[in-house]
Subunit: 340 residues, 2 copies
């Protein structure tokens, strides 16, 4: 079913699972979509198989999805582009593409993370390299595979003014992909990055054999501290009660597929961080985000007891069991003060 | 490990799973606890086996937990009592106990629900029968079985002034049972009742074979409408971001054990409500709460699209698939307006 008033020309930078899934949504809505990947052999494989075997196996790619390894051709004449590169590679890729990214064309950032050392959010890394652009961020509970399979998904898109967010909403909105707008783009982007720290904590609880009570409380209290840091960094508190906050956090903490939760589970079961990282194929961003988060929280004097315990377990050799004990034994608290 | 400054004398009314689990927490903290049940044979069985075989099988009851079927003796001289009767039986039980409940002694309400027709919350049903009392409500993500097994659990207790809430916090707080206080007792009590409607919707999604994206979005948007109704009924919005709001909602929607989620799942898989209710041993309060909630929402002109669709599916024969479609197809929305 085609819904776009006209086919907009959209270029997706990054042929991982998420970039590919979003490209599929846009093609389904009648837009003219080009998907660019950094590796020629990966694009060649996708062209030959009409499938993203590496990241979205089993899902056919429609013929009208253009696949590119030449960035200049992929980006030429586009009305909008999307950055779907994993956070740790954004800087390198943007350095490489800087000369061919059209000026005056807005972009949508869909990566989740905070760059180490610089402590910049994904969209800030992009503009740090290519200069100021009009931009929106898109986030929310959205496993790529489920989006690609057409399971009902709701996300939120935010921009400084509402105009670009509304445009992006119209581009993506379909019967299976519902898009809400929000004006707090700092909060929407931070929600996606900070959740991964709490996901590791949730995994630790799973590894220790705890139940639903423990994990639900952890997610709830995790949200309180995420929001606290977010507000200190300029986000609006209420954003964390939305899809990019609690929504994404729930998926990440409860889904069996989450990489960050899986890291926590292994550690809760007795593995060391080196063991776990040694045998993972894909990066669990939360491990490094934990470092950034604890550093920022300290700078801003924001209390984050869960992130702090995750940091001690990951990097200081603290036993997970003692970390949970220390969280439970803290001074008796009023929820009213925290929730405000 | 005993923590209470002195052993307080506490009577728990209701020997279901939740009443028994809370009695165990209090005994563990060194209080003198009497547990009362309405059925003599049930209490006799518990006395003989030192176990609550019906509702908490496999968990030994310590010798110093007193078991009673005589309400006058159970309540005599207590410093505090706890109402743990399921909502639909509260009125009958309170009528029966009215003469022996000591005046001037505060109580803690731990039941979750809204009475049909009267639309009163559990604690209001109690005071409707026995008259005004000082009271607190205790809620949060807390499967009785997990509490009884000593898995880490965090709950919230609220009273109009903070004094009673703080006293209840001290009574229950332990290394495995963390208690937060809150001053919004209307919000804390409503959270526990309203979540069951969203849990049925979550189960419907499971029955339809949807994934984590769908369910996380549903829980997030469900929270928005629960909070909206709560505020209209005098609750504080932020309470729904806490343990009695999102915390309890998450457990109920994601746990495999939840009765309300199970009802939804059966219906999402094609069963009718009559089929499902016919084969259930225990009551799924959410079915009846849905009726109350839709009625109250209409009275107060509060928009509750998810509750409304659940109502249509349960009582009007609407197909679950069409209900989800109608939710996804609604006019494009701004999250900012909803979250405020």
């Amino acid at each position: 079913m085609r819904r776009g008033n006209r086919g907009e020309r959209i270029t997706v930078i990054g042929n991982g699972g998420w970039g590919t899934a979003l490209a599929l949504v846009l093609v389904g809505n009648g837009h003219r979509v080009r998907l660019w990947g950094a590796f020629s052999d990966s694009i060649a494989l996708m062209r030959r198989e009409r499938e993203n075997i590496e990241f979205l196996p089993g899902i056919p790619l429609p013929e009208d999805l253009e696949l590119h390894d030449d960035a200049a051709r992929a980006l030429e004449g586009c009305d909008l582009w999307i950055n779907a590169i994993p956070t740790k590679y954004i800087r390198d890729v943007m350095e490489r593409l800087r000369g061919v990214i059209p000026t005056g064309v807005p972009f949508v950032s869909v990566s989740k993370g905070i760059e180490n050392r610089s402590l910049l959010r994904a969209s800030q890394v992009v503009t740090d390299v290519i200069g100021r652009r009009e931009l929106a961020v898109l986030s929310g509970p959205s496993h790529a595979e489920e989006v690609a399979r057409g399971l009902p998904t709701s996300v939120v898109v935010a921009s400084r003014g509402e105009k670009l967010a509304r445009r992006v909403q119209r581009l993506f909105q379909s019967e299976r992909f519902r898009v809400y707008t929000n004006t707090d783009f700092v909060g929407v982007e931070l929600g996606g990055a900070l959740k991964n720290v709490i996901a590791i904590a949730a995994g630790i609880c799973d590894g220790l054999g705890f139940g639903d009570n423990t994990k639900s409380a952890l997610v709830t209290r995790g949200l309180v501290e995420i929001a606290r840091l977010g507000v200190a960094l300029g986000a609006r508190k209420s954003t964390f009660s939305g899809l990019a906050g609690i929504g994404d956090l729930i998926t990440t903490c409860f889904s069996r597929h989450g990489r960050n939760r899986a890291v926590g589970e292994a550690i809760g079961s007795g593995a060391t961080l080196d063991d776990v990282l040694g045998r993972m194929r894909m990066v669990a961003e939360g491990v490094w985000t934990t470092r950034s988060v604890v550093e920022v929280a300290r700078e801003r004097s924001v209390e984050m007891p869960i992130a702090d315990q995750v940091h001690r377990v990951l990097f200081r050799g603290k036993s997970p069991d003692r970390a949970v004990g220390d969280l439970m034994r803290r001074a008796m608290k009023s929820e009213t003060e925290d929730l405000g």
